[in-house]
Symmetry: C2
Subunit: 112 residues, 2 copies
DNA sequence: TCCCGTACTTCTACATTGTAGATAACCGGA
DNA sequence: TCCGGTTATCTACAATGTAGAAGTACGGGA
């Protein structure tokens, strides 16, 4: 999509994971959420680059964790769904719903 | 998707248009179906190259119209959804359903 | 103090998918 | 034979999908 108007399949999945996670959304948890729900392995690199692109479009925003908590390792980068992202998610859902309208679950697909 | 395991957003749309059209699915009608349902302009080139790729994966098959009908212009290339394509469509639907499970239409998306 | 394991993020690279527009093929009629 | 209408093919490039190695940061133990 030259103009970034529509969401890609994986972008949509990432955004939905974000919604489920709420306040606790950062790289590792997002990855886990997707693997559990979609039942599919995802590399951490795939998650981050998608997140970066979504941020560049203004669909999500991110900020690093404040050091208050006593835990080891590098700072976490928390992601948050922005209004534009929610809109885009809504739009994707509608398009798919329109494309499916009138089709029964299995019957239609198997009819031919 | 390096291994062609999952459907892209546009591929899914094209496949669904195919299901709606049934016997009458060829380049131009597929394009029109998408434009009407998705409410979005699509170039004919976009449709064909996606169709070619889907065919290469075995998700759809195609055959040219027999010349019996009296109509002008170049031969039509009719497309048909193959079992593998239907399966893939099913799988895409399930993944998205799993990703959305537990989320209310608007409420959740707007809560943050 | 230095090294190490843990917890995360960044970076680099490349394959696949998305998209458009120009061009070619074919048909019947003027 | 030239022409307009109908449809498919080709070429090119931008955006998205995906992986894995490398880098950063912190606290604890030797």
């Amino acid at each position: 999509m030259p103009k970034g108007d529509f969401l890609g399949a994986f972008e949509e999945i990432v955004l939905l994971a974000l919604v489920h996670l709420g306040e606790d959304a950062y790289g590792m948890t997002i990855r886990r959420e997707i693997e559990e729900r979609a039942g599919r392995a995802v590399s951490i690199g795939a998650v981050y680059s998608t997140l970066d692109r979504l941020q560049a479009k203004g669909f999500v925003s991110s900020q690093y964790a404040n050091g208050s908590e006593a835990r080891r390792g590098r700072a976490r980068r928390y992601f948050k769904l922005e209004p534009e992202g929610a809109k885009s998610l809504e739009r994707s859902k509608e398009i798919l719903a329109n494309m499916r309208r009138g089709l029964e679950p299995e019957s239609e697909l198997t009819k031919s």
